[in-house]
Symmetry: C2
Amino acid sequence: MSAIQSFPQLQETVARLFQSENFLQQPAELYAPIDYTLQLGGKRIRPVMLLASCQLFNGDIAKAYDSAVGIEVFHNFTLLHDDLMDHSPLRRGVETVYRKWDENTAILSGDAMLIMAYQYLCRKPSNRLHDIISTFNNMANEVMMGQQYDMNFESRDDVTVEEYLDMIYLKTAALFNGALRIGALIADAEESQLLPLHTFGRHLGLAFQIQDDLLDTFGNVTTFGKKPGQDIRDNKKTMLLITAIHKASPSQLDELQHWMAAPESDEKVEAVRAIYNSLHIAEDMEQHIASHYQQASQALESINAPDANKQPMQDLMQHLLHRSH
Amino acid sequence: MSAIQSFPQLQETVARLFQSENFLQQPAELYAPIDYTLQLGGKRIRPVMLLASCQLFNGDIAKAYDSAVGIEVFHNFTLLHDDLMDHSPLRRGVETVYRKWDENTAILSGDAMLIMAYQYLCRKPSNRLHDIISTFNNMANEVMMGQQYDMNFESRDDVTVEEYLDMIYLKTAALFNGALRIGALIADAEESQLLPLHTFGRHLGLAFQIQDDLLDTFGNVTTFGKKPGQDIRDNKKTMLLITAIHKASPSQLDELQHWMAAPESDEKVEAVRAIYNSLHIAEDMEQHIASHYQQASQALESINAPDANKQPMQDLMQHLLHRSH
């Protein structure tokens, strides 16, 4: 067993992994957009999470490097296709692939990225390969389902908080859970530890996504990397909107519904934000986020592992809690 | 060992596999297009090939059922995304997914299909799982590369026969070879048999694709299932066009180049077809096809397996040789 890596060390390890990988192959038309996407950086929180989970259970994180890259490649594949489907012009402050190249490039390069994720995951034989790939398959499938529910909700006015939480579980928390479980499988963690680990990932993912929704509406373009207010433009049924609909007075509800029926505009974003402000929606969201972080924290405490092994995961949580993008 | 299934019996087995599978899950918006695509039928030649390869090496084909479904799901995923990228309105005589639903549905359902292919492939643990998934990964990646080269060639005038053959190897023969190799791995075939099997799949795939190009230009809409002439409309660098450019007189070359620069129209299709006819391009293609079938046949003969086990594969070849779609 090598020494436990701290959270910043794990971040550094993951950064080095990506620097040493060569994603550029032939034909360049297929791989240049993949390399562009993967070298843009981003938080790389999922591969760090996978490694942190592996060392939580005393695993050798070097054995988890390929899977860590694979999970980040998968995540970036979803962003690449999502940006095309949402027609988002910017990601991490630069042009998205479908804008920099074209739609067909975004489709095919995205497909190749999904296959590449599986290539990283299966680079080396492992006696846990079946479990690892099954976990990855379930996770990937859940992310697709979450994306579909998210799209379905755009044209519905009656989305409940429960439905919203189920959707963001699939869209966001499932990927956290996939990363955590794969890290634990590589470390040969005991079966009994996988349930509290799942509870941890679930609450961490929910907190993360509610925070994401909050940042999308109230974030700052410089730190957030894209223009805020897109969820309002798209009538996304976020926790903010669902809560606002519940709390609104009859006249505020009329106003909200007026704006939801209106085409997208800066005025619409400003008006909906003003309603959110008068209803103290941001404060409500902060409470939800804090509550999920606390539940995640409790689940992590209940896992049977040395405190020193848990520290990097706790620091990862703190890092996510204080993020601005 | 159960008895060897004949080619029609294998077709029947594959048809029953698809009838007994339920591709419709929730959310229906995600899975209905997948079910629609997979229940349209088609030749199902790749899963039959996988099973035929398994029994070629005395394998238990029941162990290969999931992989057979997986390979067909993968193939249909590529068609779904290709139809979107090519804006093809018809497939197997009915509307393509992006036309029946919309572009985002085609993107996301296609992604979910690719994941579903991996789910079928990994349904059961196997001591050959690493080999099987690595084969599948390489194959899937080659198909993406082939698709990209095909797209690149559309805007080039100097594609050589060699480049064309490399491209269709990736686009078409790689999938045949993936199916054959996975079937052989499930049967625990000897390593030494995988090379002649690869040669067989390569020539069979090349013959199949040249035939496909021929049908695209000279096929009949009723039996072919889509409007012929699309390759001419798209300026696809098919074996027909490359051969015609080589054989054309200076005045015929001028005429060909005039039409390649022209926007797509029925007139363009007719004119290019007329040039092909005067140059006897269809006859040349028939010769290429026959030559690749013969080389495939020789490779099959050289495989160390009982004649009775080879018969279904030979019948599969004959079936492909005489197809009209």
